[in-house]
């Protein structure tokens, strides 16, 4: 199978599933929403067509059955709840199938069997084929000619008016009728060829009109009430209200975007090197005018590169829509496994964050939802006894709050019982009894973030594996954000994930010195190279080497950081710093990998410590100190 084609299909198909799910949500609330019904039908139709390219006959058959089911719904003008449920299951199936395709495994036997069952169920509920074929095509939601008139704005009504050939004899004036159409926005007048050869017959009506009105359908029909069957009227569905940005976007491979971002970072480094050279030129007696021009050009270049950097950072922003779209299925599955009923509400899908951040948020969100369903939401009988609505409400909402994006996961379950938490925390040795007693209720609830804490009485496969909330907090901290709890014992729990809206990711190079690992911002590094011991010359008590006819002093990072001394190896790596008055090389023991992560300011004892810019969190949760090389080597 062609991998590019498959990738394109997977991306497209996931998009279609997301769109279809959105329309299903609308239909769940308003089963007769013509626009949503139309959109859903189109999404499924396109999905079906794409699956056919990949020789997935069982999935194609399932989508075909779902599409046919929807065709009935379109004709009936509404999607009954039972049908909606089946379509939801068909979409869930499709998603599972897409996951399997992406993983390269193909559908499992279970998936195949489920898809066949669901196909049969969908087909079983359908009206007999004969009934489905009528009324004829004209009665479809909107025929092709009507769609062709539409311009996609809301409230469009298409009219086709074909007066009979004897209309003038009957005393009709079709143009007057057309003139009376409310909200006329488009009018196409066409002249049919004459019915018979011969001289022009001025009294044989040969005109037909197609019009688009921006007016309520009832008003349009009222204007045409006297012409009876000569006119057809169709309210047009609004063209999918895709966010306007989507209409003007192109898909680019994420890797390509990452590469552009990396190149821009490299450009910043190259510019720093140039700046440095210009500064050195300034130190020489020379052509002041040329120097002035170079400095102006540099300022211009700096400004433009800054703008480019900002623009590329913006390009990396993606809406949370795709992430959120994965949640309903997970919630449905989890709820089904735990025999709980959940109504999931999602909002704020348009809020955008850096692509890398969005990708990282899936796990924490999954933890929170599973916690809510597993621990927060009471079993149905308990909810009934408590007088709570049996389906629990679970809300995921994203919003922008100043410089932060807030993603809230709220349930109306039991909340966290501070007393139980104190008891558990003490029992598990997280905190001693005296300290626990001293915590107020809010602080006690925060104990769920303690490492290894699990609040469920029983450990299930859904939640309570003891890696829940502490992992959430660590992930958020790694992204430069934080987690807040709003605990309402007995009434529910709200967890807020707060993230910097513009997470600035810093690219660093990991270096080793004195047995420890540190991060050096790439932006500060002009180049890295290896220096042989015999290249080193001691000049006035300082070790130096010659680089491009310039004497460069070498400082050991180990010495700069007061780490224990050691013998220099025969060859060692150095970082030649960018910027600064004269080049400086910093000797390290080894060079490691490059990382990209948000730079976090230092807190506590290390705050304001000279020579440190901050810290970044590695993928494995360990903290790396980010060095301020310029300050250290000054």
């Amino acid at each position: 199978m062609d991998q590019d084609l498959l990738d394109a299909f997977l991306t497209e198909a996931r998009d279609l599933v997301v769109r279809a799910a959105g329309d299903l949500d609308v239909l769940a609330a308003r089963p007769g929403d013509a626009e949503a019904l139309e959109g859903l039908f189109r999404s499924l139709h396109t999905l079906k067509g794409s699956t056919a390219l990949f020789d997935l006959p069982v999935l194609t058959a399932l989508l075909h059955a779902a599409e046919t089911r929807l065709e009935d719904a379109r004709r009936a003008g509404a999607l009954p709840p039972a049908g909606g449920g089946q379509i939801v299951r068909a979409l869930d199936q499709t998603e599972g199938w897409l996951d399997a395709l992406a993983a390269g495994t193909g559908a499992s036997d279970i998936q195949l069997a489920e898809a066949r069952d669901l196909t049969a169920a969908l087909e079983g509920d359908q009206a007999p084929a004969a009934a489905r074929r009528e009324p004829a095509g004209e009665e479809k939601t909107a025929p092709d000619w009507a769609r062709a008139l539409g311009r996609g704005s809301p409230g469009e009504v298409a009219v086709r008016y074909r007066p009979g050939a004897d209309a003038y004899f009957r005393g009709e004036d079709p143009l007057a009728v057309v003139q009376g159409l409310p909200g006329l926005a488009v009018l196409r007048t066409s002249l049919h060829p004459a019915a018979s050869e011969g001289p022009y017959d001025p009294f044989q009506c040969r005109l037909a009109f197609e019009a688009l009105c921006l007016a309520p359908e009832a008003e349009v029909r009222a204007a045409l009430r006297l012409v009876g069957g000569d006119a057809e009227v169709h309210a047009l569905p609004q063209v999918r209200a895709t966010p306007s940005a989507q209409a003007r976007t192109v898909r680019v491979p994420a890797l390509g975007l990452d590469r552009v971002a990396a190149l821009v970072d490299d450009l910043v480094i190259a510019k720093n090197g140039l700046s440095h050279a210009i500064d050195r030129l300034g130190g020489l007696a020379g052509d002041r005018a040329l120097l002035g021009e170079l400095q102006d050009r540099r300022a211009d270049l700096e400004r433009r590169i800054g703008e480019l950097h900002g623009a590329v950072t913006d390009l990396r922003l993606v809406a949370l829509r795709g992430l959120f779209a994965r949640l309903p299925r997970l919630v449905r599955e989890t709820a089904a496994r735990l025999d709980k009923r959940i109504e999931l509400a999602i909002s704020g899908e348009d809020v955008a964050l850096d692509k890398a951040v969005v990708e990282t948020l899936f796990e924490p969100l999954l933890h929170l939802l599973r916690n809510s369903i597993g621990h927060g939401v009471e079993p149905p009988e308990t909810r009934r006894r408590l007088g709570k609505p049996e389906p629990a409400r679970l809300a995921v909402a994203a919003s922008t709050r100043g410089d932060f994006v807030c993603i809230e996961v709220a349930d109306d379950g039991a909340g966290i019982d501070p007393q139980a938490i104190r008891r558990l925390a003490v029992g598990r040795g997280v905190i001693d009894a005296e300290a626990a007693a001293g915590l107020d209720d809010a602080a006690a609830a925060e104990l769920v973030f303690a490492r290894g804490f699990s609040t469920a009485g029983q450990v299930s496969d859904v939640a309570g594996r003891g890696v829940g909330m502490d992992a959430v907090r660590e992930t958020l901290a790694g992204l430069g954000g934080r987690v807040e709890l709003d605990n309402r014992p007995g009434a529910g729990l709200t967890v807020r994930l707060l993230l910097p809206a513009r997470t600035v990711l810093t690219r660093v190079l990991v270096v080793e010195a004195g047995g420890a690992r540190f991060a050096a911002p790439l932006q500060a590094i002009g180049e890295t190279r290896r220096v042989r011991a015999e290249e080193v010359t001691v000049l006035r008590a300082s070790r130096t080497f010659v680089r491009r006819d310039t004497v460069v002093p070498i400082q050991r990072l180990r010495d700069l950081l007061d780490l224990p001394p050691a013998d220099d190896p025969p060859v060692f790596p150095v970082l030649v710093l960018a910027g600064g008055e004269a080049p400086v090389a910093v000797q390290v023991d080894a060079l490691g990998e490059q990382l990209q992560a948000p730079l976090r300011p230092l807190g506590g004892m290390l705050a304001g410590y000279p020579g440190l810019l901050g810290s970044i969190l590695q993928g494995d949760g360990r903290v790396l100190l980010v060095l301020d090389l310029a300050e250290l080597s000054a």
Partner: protein, 91 residues
């Protein structure tokens, strides 16, 4: 007279009714170069519009009826503009 011929220009005036379609088509039939002045036309019956669309004469004069100008005559006017843009037609 709602439809008349003056110096090879067909004039439509006032409210042109269904029966004017016959007069108009008689004036335009086989008379390729005739121009129709709609400047004084206030309203016209579909049959009259149909005759204009059939013979497609050049229209002159701005009709005071906005509906007619915007929807009925536009097609015919656009033809006139095309002709004007071709200098050879004026030699």
């Amino acid at each position: 007279m709602t439809v008349s011929l003056q110096d090879e220009v067909v004039r439509l005036e006032g409210d042109c009714r269904v029966e004017d379609a016959e007069t108009l088509s008689a004036l335009l039939d086989g008379q390729g170069g005739r121009v129709v002045d709609v400047g004084e036309c206030r309203q016209l019956h579909t049959a009259v519009l149909q005759a204009l669309l059939h013979y497609r004469p050049q229209l002159i004069g701005a009709c005071g009826n906005r509906f007619l100008e915007q929807w009925a005559f536009r097609d015919l006017r656009s033809r006139k503009i095309e002709d004007e843009e071709t200098p050879r037609d004026w030699t």
